[in-house]
Symmetry: D2
Subunit: 355 residues, 4 copies
Amino acid sequence: MADIQLKGKIPVAVLGATGAVGQRFVKLLENHPWFEVTTVTGSERTSGGVYSEACRWVLDEDPPEAVGHLTVQDSEPNLEARIVFSALPAGIAKDVEPQFAKAGYAVCSNASAYRQAAGVPLVIPEVNGDHFDMLEQQRAAQGWDGLIVTSPNCTTTGLAMTLKPLDLAFGVRQVFVTSMQGVSGAGYPGVSFLDIHDNIIPYIGGEEEKLQAETCLLLGRIEGTERFPAEIGISAQTNRVPVIDGHTLSIAVKFDRAPTAEEAILVLEGYEGPAAARGLPSSPEKVIIVRREVDRPQPRRDRNANHGMSVTVGRIRKCPLLDLRMVSVVHNTLRGAASGSIMNAELLVAKGYVK
Amino acid sequence: MADIQLKGKIPVAVLGATGAVGQRFVKLLENHPWFEVTTVTGSERTSGGVYSEACRWVLDEDPPEAVGHLTVQDSEPNLEARIVFSALPAGIAKDVEPQFAKAGYAVCSNASAYRQAAGVPLVIPEVNGDHFDMLEQQRAAQGWDGLIVTSPNCTTTGLAMTLKPLDLAFGVRQVFVTSMQGVSGAGYPGVSFLDIHDNIIPYIGGEEEKLQAETCLLLGRIEGTERFPAEIGISAQTNRVPVIDGHTLSIAVKFDRAPTAEEAILVLEGYEGPAAARGLPSSPEKVIIVRREVDRPQPRRDRNANHGMSVTVGRIRKCPLLDLRMVSVVHNTLRGAASGSIMNAELLVAKGYVK
Amino acid sequence: MADIQLKGKIPVAVLGATGAVGQRFVKLLENHPWFEVTTVTGSERTSGGVYSEACRWVLDEDPPEAVGHLTVQDSEPNLEARIVFSALPAGIAKDVEPQFAKAGYAVCSNASAYRQAAGVPLVIPEVNGDHFDMLEQQRAAQGWDGLIVTSPNCTTTGLAMTLKPLDLAFGVRQVFVTSMQGVSGAGYPGVSFLDIHDNIIPYIGGEEEKLQAETCLLLGRIEGTERFPAEIGISAQTNRVPVIDGHTLSIAVKFDRAPTAEEAILVLEGYEGPAAARGLPSSPEKVIIVRREVDRPQPRRDRNANHGMSVTVGRIRKCPLLDLRMVSVVHNTLRGAASGSIMNAELLVAKGYVK
Amino acid sequence: MADIQLKGKIPVAVLGATGAVGQRFVKLLENHPWFEVTTVTGSERTSGGVYSEACRWVLDEDPPEAVGHLTVQDSEPNLEARIVFSALPAGIAKDVEPQFAKAGYAVCSNASAYRQAAGVPLVIPEVNGDHFDMLEQQRAAQGWDGLIVTSPNCTTTGLAMTLKPLDLAFGVRQVFVTSMQGVSGAGYPGVSFLDIHDNIIPYIGGEEEKLQAETCLLLGRIEGTERFPAEIGISAQTNRVPVIDGHTLSIAVKFDRAPTAEEAILVLEGYEGPAAARGLPSSPEKVIIVRREVDRPQPRRDRNANHGMSVTVGRIRKCPLLDLRMVSVVHNTLRGAASGSIMNAELLVAKGYVK
């Protein structure tokens, strides 16, 4: 990802900056080499206040000082920024994001509102960065100067990144997946201690459907301006577990051409993603880390690999019914949420969609 | 299970009574209507001491006073008891249990040593109590006055009890199962807080193999004196989770004759087990409890159903790849361990194998 | 507590029955020998609905079936009940409880609204059941046919029950107390998992002030109709810890006449409370349990002692600065909340205030 | 701490490198600007093996590759190193550490063996770095070419660092302290999940005595070669809590000259420690961080402040019985263990004791 020459940093805004995901955006962008947070927006309740006071900060690390002094704005498309990161609730994102795109902003959304919408790319750079090719058509069809790109659900991110290299090499046909998802995935205040302590909740509303639909979109292909979801059968059971960060996926896969465990390991370890997605500021050293210890990956020990940007896969072994079983861990609020959108923005810059 | 008339309680011994499972036996037998603990045995280190002092008690409830005064014996077949409950480590059980059987004791073992051995019934009363019919042949073949019966691994117990009613009604062919297992299943001291707090360990040594083999034995049939394991394909991934008690199973099943979710629910709710296994002192009011709430079963809220003797099943729904998905919770140290063996002993008495 | 002869059970109402404390009242009264829940009340939102549907049940055990069928009423003093248990929020209790008292109901409140009010007894039966003598004066002064009695904050309950026997025997002068409080004390949904998991929060709003003021009221005396708080200096630091139930108190005490640790143990173990408070349906076998193991009491292992109605004390030893140090555990939602109010109601019946 | 000019890094050894504290030393020294780990030692069982294989690594981060290739040595004083960090068990440290000191090594010990021994400095650089002045006398008296210095117990570290600035300014006379200690303080495997999950253990063997004695040594003074412990009365209650890292201390203090809370805050915030201890490689930006939020410090949110090297203090307020109450958090395995010894070594180099 050769030569990005930026004259100064690109001003960016965080929409919905006072919520848990918004805070994560603000924190991750603190020392970003390309982007600088110049604007934060909030709800009616917080708008007009100073960010450090308007926002009940929930991350363990302290908020960046510079952003703390900003005044919280309304989420209206008159902000001094070229990229806007959307951490808005889905319902609000539905209305607001197109307004920004129309007004010329590049919207990188972590909301679910447009993930499955026709014409809107749902992208993980290392998985399907080429889906940004849909953007010309998006702008033409909508008459937008700006654009909307989305990043997937956190659990989908872990699954799609695990499957992509295997799909390229062996063709994925069927997937059983049972997730054990960290609590931070539910936002703040999210899940009550009284509900999840010493317990498992075997249900997360809408999660199984998202996991199935979004994974097929990410592993699908585009042809001209049209998107064809991958034809993969997925059966999912999603669970909330008493772990703070990190989603763990127990996966069984059937392939077109069944590899041995060792072949799958080599493919996963060697995976670098499309050339355009390499060497971005948020790119991990390795896309996939394979652990060969019998008891890895573990969320507490593997979620932070490469600043939470790698997916860690282990226990790759023969499945008695399909072809292979394996376990993946993804950091849900880093790779799976804010960092995913930031990396999408980086790819937009690298590809020249934002100047 | 009509008319058991006992003249006084049957004296029983607990082998390996100072360990975590042994303590559970002692506690559960505290006010048993048929059995009275007259003997406890321990290792060389504890043998000769008073039980209350020799044993580092690890259960939350206090030990029964009467047993506390007993002197810990060696595990040798000269004890005043008719039934012996074995909580011995597998390696020691291998040697010791046959000695007791030879000497005329009815051995009800929770150890894994003989679970898969030819001629030794592996039994959950409501699932395959009829497998005790193998005992005539066992005694004849071994020349024993006594007998050995075993109860399955805790995770297997949950799976087999869930599948049995469905197998009877619809024929189970394939099973994907991902377990989330409570820490007490690993004994004491078992798992370090530093390993499992805020974490998941996606590996439990030997567990996946046991789950597969034992489930097929339990759902198998006997013909004359021979045992035929069920021909069910099982793919298992077992995980340790930071929950103290209760194993949660995420299950997908393919049937010979696929039922609707509602048909499966009716079959599970109506299941009573074989007539001989009903109304035993440890029998739960219902073998299977079906919860229809979208977010049940949960280990903390369902593990203690009917004193931990029922299995709770929920989220029964169509599977996109096989026929049905569902979630089960079983109490691993009650139904899944000591209570399972005690109920086997009750069935032995009810069937006249112990007088 | 000689001869209570009741003609049938006394009808009781639970005000605020849909909240966490209200549910606990409903559950605890399920098979009460003297009381029967005939009425449940809720907020505008739930009023008019069937209890089992209007109420998001949060306890681990299932709700009692009979109460589940009741229609939720408004909290207005036209209910068919003689005793009302108040689990109302403090702000609402302030208005509603006097209306019930005026209308002739015996209000047993778990709310903080009137705990420190002149003329309203704040009572733990074994500590200061005699404070009910204030009730004649209460009725006269207010012109009420009914009455209001209150039970203390959960943490106060643990402290006051530990100190009372020692105060009687040796005179308590100064107390340092650091609490480690279970999460259920904060109600439902209460504390977010993200805030308290793997963490301690060294602050609970208003708790330190309550602990100091209420303890002095409970250990104080009444003279005629006037109440004199005990003159004890208390320095408190209250902490929230990742434990579901049970408050643990680390206590240092200075006495008028310093006892040895052994003398204190004998006094605590022998404490029976005032005669009138013995033998009530909710009375524990022992008021105080003393554990002599070096590492007890522990909240998970001791909170349920005598159905959560005993306080367990241990590590009683010399203090290098004051006289003695010790550790106490109290079950905050049983003895410390709903059960405390129920026991107050029992004492009211026993003393003839409710007929 | 002006101008340390080192010709190349100083070779150092870690004694007991395969245990939990030893691993922490190895990890922390990975990129140290002054020190390079050239030798690791282990027990008979691990000696002779390659470190990466001999050692069951328990930290969440991966081990440094370079050290992984080292062969584990015996703990005998023939190693190529000038400084040895001792993570030995106290019993072994007793014998081994003097052998190394005699043979010319500078021993920086985290073991408790010699912490209270006459002639051996117990040091936290910012608290009492001047106690290294005892070393001349130590060498003379023992006839050693090398030396032994020790760092305190993890809980003591938090208490002494909190009290030192206040003692200098106002004179500390009495201290009540109740600790809530993270589980990693007990080593690996340390505490069983079954013992501490959803629980508190109100006892840690020997901890209360260490906390009292070591704190007085650290706050004491040396006169010539003699050491005079501070005459401070300390009453301690130590508890284990279900938190992985971080010790939280609830403290009440009586002073010679009672400050207001605000005066104490200014003194704590302004504390820089003795000049010689500033600017070492491991020195935190601030020795003490004061948080003014009502609910801080919290172990999960504050333990990592300045790489775990700062102590965070909050809730500084008037005490109803003594002068002030406050809460401190210290990272027990960083500042409180390995990093403390490393910083001692840095101070030895800065003061010219190691060349």
